[in-house]
Amino acid sequence: MRRSRIMALVAGTVLALTATACGGSAGDDEGGRDVDAEENAAEKFDDGTRMKELAEDGKIIIGVKYDQPGLGFKDAASDIPTGFDIEIAKLLAADLGIDPASANVTWEETVSDNREPFLTTGKVDIVLASYSITPDRRKVVGQTGPYMLTGQQLLVKADSDVDSIEDLAGKEVCSVTGSTSIDKINEKGAKGVGFESYSECVQKVLDGSVEGMSTDGTILAGFAAQNEGQLKVVGEPFSTERIGVGYSQDHPEMCEWINTVLEDAFEDGSWAEAFELTLGPSGVETPDPPALDACPAA
């Protein structure tokens, strides 16, 4: 009798503690930068451009990731995702005169495999979903930027003595099915095993089914910060990914506009501020803004 009462007390305390812990972290994630929408934005765009249409409609659909802390991450409690991709997307929306915090911006979850189909079918207007620029993607969709450079690294348990991907030759390394990261892992002599999302890979690393997972360093840094003391990022980057903005090839005029907004953000410091705010806490140092690609001649 007495024993069960003590057990109940312990269970109650644990429950209460977890509840507070959850509450605490939810509060920290709130927000991101406040970006004000530009007024009368539609006036500055030429007639017939997609930007004009969007600005006059006052609505935009942006394809983002939901499962990458620090880049594009949405927890169950919040309406607007958080992360660096989101911050850049906010700047673009605001330039069209659309309030990024309002319901006029639809944040559509766009997993890696959906990015081109969503753009070509017009399900989303632009994509900012850790979208690396590649020549073959440019055959199907428009991509401009990059607004961030990153490279593939390795995430392992905090007590692991693995230093680099070479240490895992012949061993299984987790990443997302169908991602470029899996290919790179295989090229490096390790064996890529694919899961649906990065968070599932994190679980597999934590439960010891795989020794490590690998993808862009910025994504890994976010997970390392989320699981502090349990996971760490190791090794030098062994690839270069140029993260850019995706748009539909039906609207090539969007390229110049996106580049202008990015250029402004580089210059007025909002880019650096966004970086600091979203990726800074994971221990990534704010680099110099990358050089933008020139837009293809229309």
Binding site: S112, D113, E116, P117, T134, D136, R137, K139, V140, V141, E172, C174, T177, G178, S179, T180, I182, D183, K191, G192, V193, G194, F195, E196, E200, Q203, K204, D207, G208, S209
Partner: protein, 227 residues
């Protein structure tokens, strides 16, 4: 489509994993399913109940959830298949492959059980009664009289169940097995401009596998036909 032809080795290796998953899970599910069917028609009520509960529980659970249970829940219970570490040629059969085989086998066994049970029901009751009358015990009745006839009658539904299994192996693509669909995802990701051609090539691979299997099942059906 060129993207697939440029790396045919990877294409065949991916379908190799699909085939291995199918073969191993196919054999295991047939064995387990037969056992379950025997449970469901046995004279022991506890076994009958166990068989019924298993079939209803597993048949009503989506395959992805069965996979999820073994991938994410089982490690917490100390079931992780980490002892499996077989390498044949360039193929690796590790914990992920085992999880896939176990999930597919357990899932398919429920359907195999029902297909065989339908075959058992197709055997006239008189057969079992006659077998009992000459003094065969239950296992004898099943092994020597009922099941041989039941298997013949259940070849068509069993073939359907196994064909479904061939395609169900694709669920493993998000559970760490580098099978065909996972290869397709890598290829479409690297060559989004050839998306349609890549889809067609991988669909074709499945069609070939299923057609091959149907052909064998057909031959078996014809050979086993009771005159």
């Amino acid at each position: 489509m060129e993207a697939v032809f440029d790396d045919l080795d990877a294409y065949f290796k991916a379908f190799g994993y699909t085939l291995f998953l199918f073969l191993v899970a196919g054999v295991l599910s047939t064995l387990l399913g037969t056992l379950l069917a025997a449970f469901r028609v046995s004279p022991v009520s506890v076994l009958r109940l166990a068989g019924t509960v298993y079939v209803n529980l597993v048949r009503n659970t989506p395959l992805v959830i069965v996979f999820g249970l073994f991938t994410f829940m089982a490690p917490y219970l100390g079931i992780h298949f980490r002892w499996v570490d077989v390498h044949i040629g360039t193929f690796d059969f590790t914990s992920f492959f085992s999880v896939a085989v176990v999930s597919l086998s357990l899932y398919t066994a429920a359907f195999v059980c029902e297909a065989i049970r339908s075959g058992i029901n197709a055997v006239p009751l008189g057969q079992a009664e006659a077998a009992r009358a000459i003094g065969l015990p239950f296992t004898g009745v099943m092994r020597q009289v009922v099941l041989p006839q039941a298997f013949r009658a259940s070849v068509p539904p069993l073939a359907s169940v196994q064909i479904a299994l061939i395609k169900n192996t694709s669920v493993a693509y998000v559970f760490g097995v580098a099978e065909a669909v996972s290869r397709m995802r890598i290829t479409t990701n690297n060559f989004p401009s050839q998306r349609l051609g890549i889809f067609i090539m991988f669909a074709f691979g499945y069609i070939v596998l299923v057609e091959l299997f149907s052909f064998l099942a057909n031959r078996l059906e014809r050979r086993w036909r009771i005159a």
